[in-house]
């Protein structure tokens, strides 16, 4: 039998379909000139399987059909902002003037690239109401690292390195405590209230002479706006600390308010969330960081400056503009390809359109909330921002768990929402529809979830089986971790 199921083809590994004698690229023949590699030269077999061009297309097209995608359906992953990825962005990023330029070509030959970086910097500073920006971080997590390194550097310059404690709410993304710990800060967790917000009293009590700062996601991962944020920033500053804001959820407020008005000192912006650059199955990301006046001198290298009508790249750490800089986060100047995509998106929306983005994102989430509140269990009372958090209470008295519910959604044609995060809610289900879903699409999603909830009560076994309509069913993750097989290896025939 073929092992295929209709459109779902069983596709073997590259190393099983390909062959080391095969190639899909025609290249001229080398001239076999005597090599100049010295003793490092080698001609041993590497073992790379090759495919002709048609086989290559078939291999990857077949693989692609085993993936869910935002283009195919709603992707309700909370805190991930899986919105539409405009194809104009892709086209713009592929303009040869952007894609075919080298990071170290003479400054006079890349004025357009520097202008683009300056333009996106200007937009992001204006949208966030912040004083300075660095474009170099390669992803949100590196943005966090960048922001916290600037804070660390500022403390060093103030000769206050004894300030070692960073407060992180229990609802934070895992990257927040990981980042602070990586930099040698002591991470102290602060509690959330019954209402899903930072417990201001607990925050206050945790401030002492070792307080370096606090990392807050706003809107937070419960989908709520931290209404004490201004109080928190005032107390933070009064106590000699800094307020880092995780900007993962900026989509809820872009164009509606300026984070700078909340008193934050640094915030990263995930261009792949709010500004529509594609997630690409897990990157590449881009995480520019905006800074307040208090931190603007502590940016990493490089900086783009306009001097006498010409753009310049200030990249050497001995330049006086960088004298307080904490250093360099990565080689070259950041994710240019992502800057172009995000810029294309921002220009398309304009400031009026971006405000509409936030309003529609929040409207869509609240529409889901209202429509589902009698069926699933909202974790908190009141309106949400761009995402809505449910607890697993609606699954009480059944043997269905959040994971089973999520897997059953797959059989209904949906990617599951974010599950078991944030940690503060039991069996959490975090749903973010984004602004790029139509009402019709939301209505279908609502009806599907209602149908599943109705089924939970009387047909719970089917949830344990789910998914059944996928190319592969539930996988044994314990086996994967216990006996790791992390690459293909040629099977050695057993000795007779």
């Amino acid at each position: 039998m073929s092992n295929n199921r209709g459109l779902d083809h069983d596709e073997k590994l590259l190393f099983e379909v390909g062959d080391i004698s095969k190639t899909g690229v025609d290249l001229p023949d080398p001239e076999n000139i005597k090599n100049m590699l010295g003793s490092s030269c080698s001609d041993t077999e590497i073992g790379l399987a090759g495919l002709s061009e048609p086989e290559t297309l078939r291999h990857y097209v077949r693989l692609s059909r085993k993936n869910y995608s935002i283009d195919a359906g709603l992707y309700p992953l909370g805190s991930c902002t899986m919105k539409h990825n405009p194809r104009l962005n892709e086209k713009m990023a592929r303009l040869e003037g952007f894609s075919e330029i080298h990071p170290l070509q003479p400054i006079s030959t890349c004025q357009g690239a520097l202008e683009l970086i300056d333009l996106i910097s200007t937009w992001l500073k204006e949208l966030t109401g912040m004083a300075a920006i660095t474009m170099t971080p390669k992803a949100g997590a590196q943005g966090e690292l960048c922001g916290m390194m600037a804070i660390k550097q500022a403390l060093i310059f103030k000769k206050e390195s004894h300030r070692k404690v960073v407060l992180v709410p229990d609802s934070a993304h895992g990257t927040n405590p990981a980042t602070a710990a990586f930099l040698g800060f002591d991470v102290r967790t602060i509690k959330s209230t019954q209402e899903g917000l930072i417990d201001f009293e607990d925050f206050k009590e945790n401030i002492d002479e070792h307080f370096a700062g606090v990392m807050i996601t706003n809107p937070n991962t419960c989908g709520l706006f931290e209404s004490d944020i201004v109080k928190i920033s005032e107390l933070t500053h009064k106590s000699g600390g800094y307020l880092y804001c995780d900007g993962a959820n900026f989509n809820a407020v872009v164009g509606k308010l300026k984070p700078g008005d909340l008193g934050i000192d640094a915030m990263h912006i995930n261009l792949h969330k709010t500004f529509s650059t594609p997630h690409g199955g897990g990157g590449p990301g881009s995480g520019p960081v905006v800074f307040s006046k208090r931190l603007e001198n502590f940016c990493p290298t490089p900086l783009v400056k306009k001097i006498n009508g010409k753009y310049d790249l200030i990249e050497n750490l001995d330049n006086k503009e960088l004298s307080n800089s904490f250093g360099r986060l990565n080689v070259f100047h950041g994710q240019m390809g992502m800057f172009v995509r995000a810029m294309s998106y921002m220009l398309s929306h304009g400031s009026d359109g971006l405000r509409q983005v936030a309003e529609d994102a929040v409207l869509n989430a609240n529409y889901l909330r209202e429509s589902l509140s009698m069926h699933l269990t909202p974790a908190f009372q009141g309106y949400c921002m761009h995402e809505i958090l449910f607890s697993d209470e609606f699954l009480n008295d059944t043997n269905v768990e959040t994971l089973d519910f999520a897997k059953a959604m797959i059989d209904e044609g949906y990617h599951p929402m974010t599950i078991y995060f944030p940690l503060v809610i039991h069996g959490a289900l975090l749903v973010e529809p984004t602004e790029t879903e139509s009402k019709q699409s939301l209505d279908h999603f609502i009806e599907t979830l209602k149908g599943l909830v109705a089924r939970v009560k009387n047909d719970s076994d089917s949830f344990k089986e789910a998914p059944i309509f996928t190319p592969i069913r539930r996988l044994d993750e314990t086996q994967a971790a216990r006996k790791p097989i992390l690459r293909w290896r040629e099977e050695v025939p057993a000795k007779a």
Binding site: L14, S21, L37, S40, T44, G47, L48, A49, G50, L57, L63, S64, K66, S69, S99, H102, P103, L104, P106, G112, K138, A141, A178, A181, G184, F225, V230, V253, G255, K256, L257, H279, G281, G282, G283, P284, S286, D318, F332, G334, M336, G350, G353, E359, D360, L363, N364, E370, M385, T436, E437, S441, I472, R473, R474, L475, P484, L486, R487, W488
Partner: protein, 449 residues
């Protein structure tokens, strides 16, 4: 607005369902002293045509590598990318999917990452690889950080010919008060001279191969000595195409390998997005940062793939994670793996040879040119020239005459003095004889006329 599907009628109906009359009621939790709907000094929305015009105009102000003879390297290399690569990575199912946390509907991504990990392990000659990092520089820094965790030692030795910006990244990302990082940039370097620096406190030695100046090394002696002292050898490869002709780092005894993988499948993009490759020995796999894909079975016994060993990662371990890294370089790793699948062993080795020969051809021409001295004894597709004039002036003058000639070493340095005349020049399969003619003709003109 073309990206927003809600109509005003929809909005009205939805507000009714929610029980509000004004959308700002949903923003009521924003403190009163924070202005809602502030004004922005930014233009309003634009049509696709207008955006295309604005960005094309900006792009047009750059000289791109397809327009002129092009010889830049130093960590980013121009190669021909087969048309198939860009076509496949733009398929919706790859471009617009999320990290494969739901394996049942992400086998496409998971399988290509498993294949990618295999290719990277084979290329570097190592046991295992992760599913990619941001770029070569951060992969190098993560490798150092990994070596520190494994050896529980804090002294780090960077070879004097490591890419200066890589050294800056490593220093920035891993230095804390208890660390010491030795790095003294120099073009005069014998790899075995590092041996005398290795003592019992050294966690790792980082060597770039081919190095920043293009010189190639055998590392067997160094790796043996590292091993005898309990230090790890980290090999950094900036130009992965070199691995088609050179001994793999693994075969020379590397413990961790960090590469920039941009050369395969990924355009220059003014420096990003690129793709970091990272591989190591089986015994260190639980200290490897980043995402890793593993093989397993589903409930029916079918073979499938999942993200695995997640107990190392930040979303599980929080402040105890091996790294704060969350993302990999998904789509860039797809481009890498497609390009390498198209090449196969045969194409890859041929490509490697063509690159080496392109460099030899330029080298032979330069040897006959008075006042130009190639400082390398060996090289792959890149070498360093001592010019009769200052290299930054040279490249600007060459650019104004229509050749992008190379990377001045001094551009990457804070203290430039001893390196003013050094130029790093790369060649690849894209260079024609006419490009080299133009380089030589203009180089003479720029320096002597």
């Amino acid at each position: 607005m073309r990206y927003l599907p809600l109509t005003n009628e929809d909005r009205k109906n939805m507000k009714e369902v929610i029980g509000i009359t004004d959308v700002n009621q949903l923003f009521a939790s924003v403190p009163n002293n924070v202005p809602l709907d502030p004004s922005f000094n930014l233009p309003d929305h634009k049509t696709e045509m207008e955006v295309g015009r604005i960005l094309s105009q900006i792009a047009g102000k750059n000289i791109n590598s397809n327009q002129v003879p092009f010889f830049l390297g130093a960590g980013a290399y121009k190669h021909h990318i087969p048309a198939t690569v860009d076509h496949i990575i733009q398929r919706s199912e790859f471009l617009t999917s999320y990290t494969p946390y739901q394996p049942e509907i992400s086998q496409g991504t998971l399988q290509y990452l498993f294949e990618f990990q295999t290719q990277v392990s084979l290329l570097t000659g190592m046991d295992v690889s992760n599913a990619s990092m941001y770029d070569g520089s951060t992969a190098s820094a993560e490798a150092v950080s990994m070596a520190k965790r494994i050896t529980k030692r804090n002294k780090v030795i960077l070879s004097p010919t490591l890419h200066p910006q890589y050294a800056e990244v490593i220093k920035t990302l891993i230095s804390s008060s208890e660390d010491s990082v030795e790095y003294k940039f120099s073009e005069c370097f014998e790899v075995d001279s590092l041996i005398s620096k290795i003592d019992d406190d050294v966690s790792c030695v980082v060597v770039q191969n081919p190095d920043f100046f293009g010189e190639c090394y055998s590392l067997e002696n160094l790796s043996k000595y590292c091993q005898s002292k309990g230090a790890l050898l980290i090999v950094v490869v900036n130009e992965v195409v070199s691995l088609g002709m050179m001994k793999s780092p693994g075969s020379m005894g590397a413990d961790i390998v960090a590469c920039e993988g941009q050369s395969l499948g990924n355009s220059l993009n003014f420096g990003g997005p690129y793709i970091g490759l990272m591989s190591t020995k089986d015994k260190f796999v639980r200290q490897l940062p980043g995402r890793i894909v593993g093989e397993t079975n589903d409930v029916d016994g079918e073979k499938g793939f999942v993200l695995t060993l997640a107990t190392r990662e930040q979303h599980i371990r929080r402040e105890k994670a091996t790294s704060n890294i969350c993302t990999n370089s998904g789509l860039c790793s797809l481009a890498f793996t497609i390009h390498l699948s198209l090449l196969g062993e045969k194409g890859f080795k041929k490509l490697s040879k063509l690159n080496h020969e392109a460099a030899i051809k330029l080298y032979s021409r330069l040897e006959c040119l008075d006042g130009f001295e190639v400082i390398n004894k060996t090289f792959f597709n890149e070498f360093t020239i001592k010019l009769p004039i200052d290299a930054e002036t040279f490249v600007e003058k060459m650019a104004s005459k229509g050749v992008l000639a190379g990377v001045p070493v001094s551009r990457l340095l804070n203290k430039k003095d001893n390196f003013l005349n050094l130029l790093v020049v790369a060649s690849s399969e894209i260079n024609l004889d006419s490009d080299r003619d133009e380089f030589i003709r203009l180089a003479k003109e720029v320096c002597y006329e």
